[in-house]
Symmetry: C2
Subunit: 206 residues, 2 copies
């Protein structure tokens, strides 16, 4: 029996190149989960094959800005001239249904979410060592030395943000990291702050 029926807003973040996406994928492939993605809203043009409401919610720049002004986003970001955001109402719908909404986002977005939803679960994914992450960033592609140096500098700044998170999970082994995140989700549901309300009702009733 679960004493907290509402889903959790789980924020997965970490330094660039740590493998957040891989961990998130491993997490979603775990048995008996009730995890859901949050579909982002964007102003960028729909690509062939993309479905509105599934890949993204596609909106005009004007609509996006109006929504942002109205406080309808959990977090927003700009990337090569296009705006991206996590719609608050869609996230709340899922949480009310009892689903855990997982956001895999950059550290800036994570801080925005924490401000809007203080009881979200903030998880910082870290590499087993700095060198492991540097190697990953170098291996990633065909980028110039300059681009790689920039990424390493960014990662070095992001490494120091761990204290802003509730949990630190090492991505030394993807399955292990995903498993630990599942344990965090289970534990968070049992936290007194989240479960005492229903417990008190239970004790009053019968």
């Amino acid at each position: 029996m679960k004493l907290n029926d509402r889903g959790l807003l789980v924020v997965i973040s970490g330094p660039s190149g740590v493998g957040k996406g891989t961990v998130r994928k491993a997490l979603f492939s775990m048995p008996k989960n009730n995890l859901v993605y949050s579909v982002s809203m964007t102003t960028r043009t729909k690509r062939p094959g993309e479905v509105d409401g599934k890949d993204y919610y596609f909106v005009t720049k004007e609509e996006f800005i109006a929504r942002k002004k109205a406080g309808k986003f959990l977090e927003t970001a700009e990337f090569v001239g296009n705006l991206y955001g996590t719609p608050l109402d869609k996230v709340n719908e899922q949480l009310d249904l009892g689903n855990e909404v997982v956001l895999e986002i950059e550290v800036d977005g994570a801080q925005q979410v924490k401000k809007k939803v203080p009881d979200c679960v903030m998880i910082f994914i870290v590499p087993p060592g700095k060198q492991a992450l540097y190697d990953r960033l170098k291996r990633r592609g065909t980028e110039s030395e300059e681009v790689i140096a920039e990424r390493i500098a960014k990662a070095n700044r992001e490494f120091k943000l761990a204290h802003r998170y509730d949990y630190i999970v090492v991505n030394d082994d993807v399955a292990n990291a995903a498993d630990r995140i599942m344990a965090i989700i289970r534990a968070e549901h049992a936290k007194t702050d989240r479960s005492i309300h229903k417990y008190m009702e239970l004790i009053e009733e019968n």
Copy 2:
């Protein structure tokens, strides 16, 4: 990779009759655990077959009282004229070895432990409803109506202490309750407060 090498002090408590002992046994039978019991110290007479240092540490009343005055117990209790206590040094030895020390104790003792070791993990085991616990207390044995009424009154007082704990775990199914406690232990190790020190070292080193 675990970012917290020290074991956790896990306090399992709850209203009388909720089945703390059964949950604790299920917990210890789980695979790949590094849980250890804490052996209590007592002034009661050693019974045939009992081993000093295994079942209990047997000491005289004078020694017990001297140790208590010196602050050498995590918690103490009196039961039918005998004194019982959890020796702090033995607990710390196990925590330093990286073992999780599990204390299954009454609510009064749990509060004493919380005061001495603020970073212990406080878990409150609750029944799926009050009636379920009343039935258990009645089924327990051949006690008089009076004794049963007293126990129910005690449980009713204890029900209300949930807010003093970090987690509330329902004992509707023993395996499920044990499983949730294991998740709590894993999650607690990943908590930023417990893991940031080693993480910062890791990031400095390589």
